[in-house]
Symmetry: C2
Subunit: 408 residues, 2 copies
């Protein structure tokens, strides 16, 4: 008998029919002798409906009141799912975030979980009930309702699994697992049976939006075994494991992530002196623009250097304007930019011990005539920036070069 | 400066436009220097929408989970109203029933309020904020959400007013006050400036559905001055006062109530002996049928008597079947019944000291040729049962006979 926390997102509980299907799935797990805690999101469309009501009143609604409003979405789902469970002969009890004391900080709309009181949940489980908990929401020390921000239900599920020391936290979505890359780009993309937390973090932050990144961090930190599955069909999904569980001797590459939303900016001929990077990025940060890749090469003439970084494409015009001002003050030669680029990243823990991977990657791209505009590496990831027209070709070339279409 | 509790029902907060209008009304009161607590219902249609979702899952939804579901309706309204108040420059803070500890018993869907913790509300009021509280809902000792049943927001408002020792509890509805009778029956019906609690109770229980009867009882018990007003236009509404505030020397009749939903049943020739009333009504009560009027006259022959009572028209067939069985056991002569009757009642504290009122009432009905089938009286009320075809004629005749169209 295991203690399992399951999380169902908005699409999985998007209608009465879907809620009934979730209830039947939960019942099947319980019938196998497991204890079940189910965390749910608002029915799909509900959060947007509520947000739209609020925006009719205030363009920027009061954050505290917005949380009071939005938290009703999950509250509706927990009640309906508990009824559906009862209707199929599975005793259940629902709780809001406040009722199981999912204590958060005070940052309305983006709160972080601090603590969970698991006693009440345990008592229900021991009494043979399924416990249904509203995701996405908590309560601060003053008793005010808080929400964790969009996608926060994943984090709720992981936090609850950690507090209960659950055997597994299962995240049900509309995909059946984590893929080697986006199947819409490379039809031969293959579902992974396992992926490490670190790889998942790199995949998630690079645009594979299967899991909310914060929930993966949380699961890694509290060592909660996490599994991504489809709520629409049966299957084992993808298990997210700890690094040491996997032999890293083989040159394992897990997948290829990409991001179409970036733009790059370059300052040419900046004086090569201390503090220059801060002078360039300081004003960008002050404008609340997030910077992703940063590349600075050695100064070829020992006098001046070139400095490049990428931002979200939406921030490109503003970043360019700021950069032009800064370049002027610094006496830089020129500012250039390009919003028609993409980033492609190779992710895998195998990279740590196998130096040949980068050269294999560059060779595969060169073979297709794809020019690399920027390179940046981390322990388990190599990212390159290329012209956006090469996205599909680049992803497919790398997918083939590393044999990702064949089971490892 | 007064402390005022205002309650707005579902129609008054039925759209974003209406919520804005409520916010502006609240602001006007606050601008006059008053402290305001606002209790709101779910937006009109919302409770039915939620109920319909539940019924798609379970025909008789689990009561605990139904409360979790339905309580979201008011939670949406408190958030939106607080935003609307902030948007018109009126600092506000919302609370669910649980957040201000509206403690109730355990009877889900029909809970009764036991206690309210007013400390948090007071702190907000003292800080200059308007406090917005979800009506209709509370929390039991286990921390489970409870609801008070339909119309319970009135009771919430009165209970909060009592706990805060408010100067006045204002109930905003879609009518502009309490009328001498239903204006749809008698166009000359006149709005009353004042009515006593006892009169209001008699009016409410007799079918004038302006206020939930439980809230009137509550207000009377805790001596909360209650006022009924329209949320659609300005006006003083009707103040519900304590008996001793009014001089009762004048033969004051406040209004004429009526009820079309009754049916009468009679057992003829019952042995006139102790316990007979219990033997007749016991089986009716066991079937959960509520009995309204009960009339038993003296036994003319000293041997047998006739026993008559009224029930809701929906319960008539069942009550008739039960009564036939009972009559058989008792050896009664005959059972008769009539579902085409109405009850008309004259209500007023003036009745206590003025004996002539009953005869004036009977004279007015006789003049129109209306035959009286049953009579029952209380301290401040005389009710008669007549054929349903006489409803309009009877109400108008009494309205004129007691000069109710003229200001008192």
């Amino acid at each position: 008998m295991a203690l399992i926390v399951q999380k169902y997102g908005g699409t999985s509980v998007g209608s009465i029919e879907r809620i009934r299907a979730v209830a039947e799935r939960v019942k099947r797990w319980r019938d196998r002798g497991h204890q079940l805690v189910v965390v749910v999101s608002a029915m799909s469309g509900e959060t947007d409906r509520l947000l739209n009501l609020a925006k009719q009143i205030q363009p920027c609604p009061d954050p505290r009141e917005l949380d009071v409003l939005l938290s009703t979405g999950e509250q509706v789902t927990i009640a309906l799912l508990s009824m559906a469970l009862a209707a199929c002969g599975c005793p259940a009890r629902s709780y809001t975030g406040a009722q199981v004391h999912i204590l958060t900080d005070n940052v309305h709309n983006k709160a972080r979980i601090r603590d969970i009181d698991a006693a009440r949940v345990r008592a229900d489980l021991d009494a043979g009930r399924v416990v249904v908990i509203a995701g996405f929401q908590g309560v601060n020390e003053q008793g005010d309702i808080t929400t964790l921000g969009r996608g926060g239900s994943d984090t709720s599920a992981v936090a609850i699994a950690a507090a209960l020391k659950a055997d597994e936290c299962q995240i049900y979505t509309d995909v059946d697992g984590v893929y080697t890359t986006d199947p819409r780009i490379e039809p031969r993309a293959r579902k992974l049976d396992r992926i490490t937390f670190e790889e998942m973090l790199e995949m998630a932050s690079l645009g594979s939006k299967v899991l909310q990144i914060r929930s993966v961090e949380f699961a890694g930190k509290y060592r909660v075994p996490l599994r991504v599955l489809s709520s629409f069909d049966e299957g084992e999904g993808t298990l997210i494991t700890f690094d040491e569980d996997n032999p890293v001797e083989n040159a394992k590459i897990s997948g290829i992530a990409f991001n179409r939303d970036e733009a790059k900016l370059t300052v040419l001929g900046v004086p090569d002196q201390p503090g220059v990077a801060y002078q360039i990025l300081g004003p960008i940060a002050e404008a609340n623009i997030e910077v992703d890749m940063i590349v600075q090469n050695v100064a070829p003439d020992g006098q001046t250097t070139d400095f490049t970084f990428t931002v979200h494409r939406n921030d490109y015009p503003q970043a360019l304007a700021i950069l032009r001002k800064t370049a002027n003050c610094l006496g830089a030669r020129e500012v250039t930019g390009d919003a028609t680029i993409v980033k492609i990243s190779l992710v895998g823990v195998g990279m740590r011990s196998h130096a040949g991977i980068a050269s294999r990657m560059f060779a595969a791209l060169a073979k297709e005539g794809i020019n690399i505009r920027m390179i940046s590496t981390s322990e388990i990831k190599i990212s390159v920036v290329v012209d956006e027209k090469y996205l599909e070709l680049g992803v497919r070339a790398l997918h083939a070069a590393f044999g990702l279409d064949r089971p490892s």
